[in-house]
């Protein structure tokens, strides 16, 4: 079964500093990978996704992620964070590449941006 690991439960960072949120997955088949953001008392919003093609994926709000098949990673990065980026971030992998489209989520990483 596929799984997603987000090793960091919380990442504190100062405003305007760069940040990387780590995500590793386990899968024996082709995968679709996603990053979602959840602001307090909200649902999840899609930040970006990797389906195929270029391994560097750009998303909304200045975020990007790089798919690394050899390291089975899909880390999320932003070169300069803002206070408004404070939120919970979830990495997810498609269960079987699309047939059922069930997403397996990681446990989330709280990005805490400090002034």
């Amino acid at each position: 079964a596929q799984s997603v690991t987000q090793l960091d439960s919380q990442v504190p960072v100062f405003e305007e500093a760069p940040v990387e949120l780590r995500c590793n997955y386990s899968s024996s088949v082709s995968v679709y990978l996603f990053w979602y953001v959840q602001y307090p008392n909200q649902g999840l919003q899609l930040l970006l996704k990797y389906l195929s093609g270029s391994t560097l994926v750009k998303g909304i709000n200045g975020f990007e992620a790089e798919f690394n098949k050899s390291q089975t990673s899909f880390h999320l990065r932003k070169p300069s964070v803002h206070i408004s980026d404070t939120a919970e971030y979830f990495c997810a992998v498609s269960d079987d590449g699309g047939a059922t489209n069930k997403l397996i989520f990681g446990t989330g990483t709280l990005l805490a941006v400090q002034p």
């Binding site: 679709y32 996603f34 979602y36 959840q38 008392n41 909200q42 649902g43 999840l44 919003q45 899609l46 996704k49 389906l51 919970e88 979830f90 498609s94 590449g97 699309g98 059922t100 489209n101 069930k102 997403l103 989520f105 446990t107 989330g108 709280l110």
Partner: protein, 111 residues
């Protein structure tokens, strides 16, 4: 703009009551999902549907039930609410591999 709607946003209800959490989407997606989100933020799939009259149990066992009589509507029902059902419930829909669209969630508190 929200293409998937959940009501109510917040619900406080007494033990033993029957409740229905509503979820509707306007995108014509065949696949719909219910997730339960723990206070520690982890998401667990409790129900999913591939289309009308199709429902399946998810990875986390749940005492709730769902129905899918219309494509756009995927309500979740608890026949007898208990404090252990206190959680946030998130509904989502998808079209193939383009990722999920989530509703804003229903935060349920059973007292």
């Amino acid at each position: 703009e929200a293409d998937i709607y959940q009501t109510p946003r917040y619900l406080v209800i007494g033990t033993g009551k029957k409740i229905t959490l509503e979820c509707s989407q306007t995108m014509g997606h065949d696949k719909m999902y219910w997730y339960q989100q723990d206070p520690g933020m982890e998401l667990h799939l409790i129900h999913y549907s591939y289309g009308v009259n199709s429902t399946e149990k998810g990875d986390l066992s749940s005492e709730s039930t769902v129905s899918r009589i219309r494509t756009e509507h995927f309500p979740l029902t608890l026949e007898s609410a208990r404090p252990s059902h206190t959680s946030q419930y998130l509904c989502a829909s998808s079209d193939r591999a383009y990722g999920y669209t989530f509703g804003s969630g229903t935060r349920l508190t059973v007292v």
